[in-house]
Symmetry: C2
Subunit: 447 residues, 2 copies
């Protein structure tokens, strides 16, 4: 294996380029869009992202973590906003751990620049993948501006071309299990600018949530003092994008549900009717590889809903695991490495897809539910007393490298235990008492 | 609605052409393959089909049932062959009802000829659909021989282009839920010729099954005294196509599992290594329609495994239901008709997909199980005594027009009742006694 073709120069493609460059490969990256460092390719269409622990692990493995850290904002807690504008702060962990907010566009630029530092990495923008011959790892790209086309031979093709992957499209013609499932919610980005003096209008170290059960808004801090807000709502039905037809509908809706946000959004009307409404799709497939020639990495293999903030981190982890497997198994038998990658990652892709859907319910609904908040308090208490025995699901996902599928199974066990604990008499009063602790330990031993 | 474009001139496309022609539409049918009446387009790759009651209903609605009946062979029972060559005959119904075996190729030719009798139907072969503009119902086809292309405008496009539909491919770019799932079994066709005198080598009025749990062979009679046999087997693993590498593997395998078939297959070796090994895919999607412009009909909307013999019948029923909806709602508001079609059919597509998988287990496994045979006997007995209260699932699917989803729900209720009945003491002796009958009636009232 000497020549690697990477289809897609987004976040995962550019990180993978660095990993492969470090292995001494000749890496050609072909990206459909123009170079984002010269063009605003992301205008008004991206949810802000967060880097979690496993994201950092993968960035560190490629030696690019420092370059990325400079452009992130740490986020330590959720802050919920109720209809009356009251806020509640819910820390993500008992020991002030943080996830890190970052703009997709800035991060992509940073990673491309890191990749380009390697003389053996060649970036080609404005190239659309129109054909992949799987058995020979040969790709054909057309150049959008000139209309010309180029045929690229390589030893391996990595498809990092996202949820609507052209590489995957080719794989679908063979024995390939695939599903794409749209949730009923769409989203729209709404930017919160900073105050006139440049200071942030809300606590930038919190992820802000306006949970309204069937819909929600959230906001994540940017470096400039502003926030990227995102409204998630069904595309049709009672509270839906479909129902907001004019400025009056919009303002009535915000007045009723997000009144405290209105003063922070002086250009709400303009933004709402200008910004694109996007849908949310979950993609699952199997296998992610074709012989010793092709592998899907990132969203092309596992597009998920954004409610755990793990889509990018899962893709970065794919790169890290793939690189670890090459370290362990060598580059002599690429087919064996790709099979091992498939074996290791498909289950985790499915697990984080499930977890992300579950977290949507948590974010839009449960964070405003007293028994959910009580459960978080109990879990924190137990974790403090028995850190070796109890690590909440959220912490496993965001603050460790524990495989998603293991975290998910442990989380289901926690659910069963907490259901019994929350049913104890007077649990509101005795939640940090000895009886509860004993009960949890007994159930842990039994389950 | 005046101009209808039908993409795909297979079984469902040609029946739909007749239905639309009868409504006075100008119908253009574009088919990727050459005209099957002039070319052998199905050589060695098709399972024989059966027409069931709902298939006949749909053929009758288009006035083509007589033309089809002439080329069918009635099948009244399953005949199982065990490893020692012993056979058991299991009738499909208590009153000698039949399903009808037919060759896919012959049926396709017949239906195309029926469609072509209408002056307002135009058939175009060798035309591959390369693009569909959904919002305007505009299709682009390339002509395989000349390389030229044609753009076709119509009021409505019907995608009857099968499991790998090009029309559906276009719909997938929007909010469209889709899955394709391969089962582990592949299949290979093996033809049983007639005796030298032209007589059939087995009872032609039976569907022959060699159930071997993890794999199976079946045979369905043709008009010429021969049978189309089909071997279903995992593509990899213990008993699998992968394991049969040479003639010796093949003969050892047949000797061990299908010894009674060997004398009927003098050219087994040739056929086995010549005939194509095909995979089996289940396709589900939603919605099946795009506004008032496009609808998927048949396998493009619901490709299923062939074990209930209902794939074609489900597609024919789509045509019949669509035509009924036009009758009822008129042609003024096509969007409303397509929405109603979607509402009526997606649930039934999913139901027959589930039922077909279930029937695979039944065919390869249960038909050789004594308690399954006992259950069939009890069900027949109860049906005879109370025909208004008990119609076995198989009869609902094959011998009525009851919607698949209703049949499926009723079948699940039967399962629950029969589980309790089969657990009764001495059920082997008292299966046709009063106690069992009473039990069934009580459970029926309760469930």
């Amino acid at each position: 294996m000497k020549h690697v073709t990477i289809v897609g120069g987004g976040l995962v493609g550019s990180l993978l380029a660095v990993y492969m460059a470090r292995r001494g490969m000749v890496v050609n990256v072909y990206e459909r869009r123009p170079d984002p460092r010269e063009n605003d390719v992301y205008g008004g269409r991206s949810i802000n992202l967060v880097v979690s622990h496993r994201g950092w692990t993968a960035l560190r493995g490629a030696g690019v973590d420092q370059a990325v850290r400079e452009i992130t904002v740490p986020v330590h807690a959720r802050m919920t906003h109720d209809r009356e504008g009251h806020t509640t702060r819910l820390p993500y962990s008992i020991d002030n751990k943080a996830i890190h907010s970052v703009s997709r566009g800035e991060l992509n630029c940073r990673l491309l620049t890191e990749a380009e530092k390697w003389p053996n990495v060649h970036l080609h923008f404005d190239h659309r993948c129109v054909d992949v011959h799987l058995d020979t790892a040969t790709c054909t790209f057309t150049h959008d501006r000139s209309g010309g086309s180029v045929v690229v031979n390589g030893d391996v093709v990595f498809g990092t071309d996202g949820a609507f992957s052209a590489v995957r499209q080719e794989m679908m013609k063979g024995r390939f299990n695939f599903s794409q499932e749209y949730i009923e919610h769409d989203y729209k980005e709404i930017a919160f600018g900073p105050n006139p003096d440049g200071s942030p209008r809300m606590d930038p170290q919190c992820l802000h949530i306006w949970p309204r059960q069937k819909f929600m808004m959230m906001g994540l801090a940017n470096l400039d003092g502003g926030f990227t807000g995102t409204l998630f709502m069904p595309h049709a039905g009672e509270h839906s994008f479909e129902r907001i037809k004019d400025e009056r509908d919009l303002m009535d809706f915000f007045q009723a549900h997000f009144a405290d946000a209105i003063p922070m959004l002086p250009d709400l009307k303009e933004q709402y009717f200008r910004n694109h409404q996007s849908s949310l799709v979950i993609v699952r497939c199997d296998p992610w590889v074709h012989k010793d020639k092709v592998a899907l990495v990132g969203d092309s293999a596992h597009a998920i809903v954004p409610f755990y903030g793990e889509g990018m981190n899962a893709g970065f982890e794919d790169c890290r695991v793939l690189n670890d497997l090459f370290d362990r198994m060598g580059e002599g038998d690429v087919g064996r490495v790709l099979d091992a990658y498939n074996e290791a990652r498909v289950v985790n892709g499915n697990a984080i897809a499930d977890l992300s859907l579950r977290n949507f319910v948590e974010m839009r609904d449960l964070v405003a539910d007293p028994s959910f908040i009580l459960r978080k308090k109990i879990e924190g208490h137990i974790q403090r007393r028995h850190p070796d025995k109890w690590l909440p699901l959220y912490s496993q996902v965001k603050f460790t490298d524990i495989p998603y599928v293991d975290a998910w199974n442990e989380g289901l066990r926690h659910d069963r235990i907490m259901e019994e604990v929350l049913a104890m008499p007077n649990i509101e009063e005795q939640w940090d008492g000895e009886a509860v602790e004993k009960m949890v330990l007994t159930l842990l031993d039994r389950a």
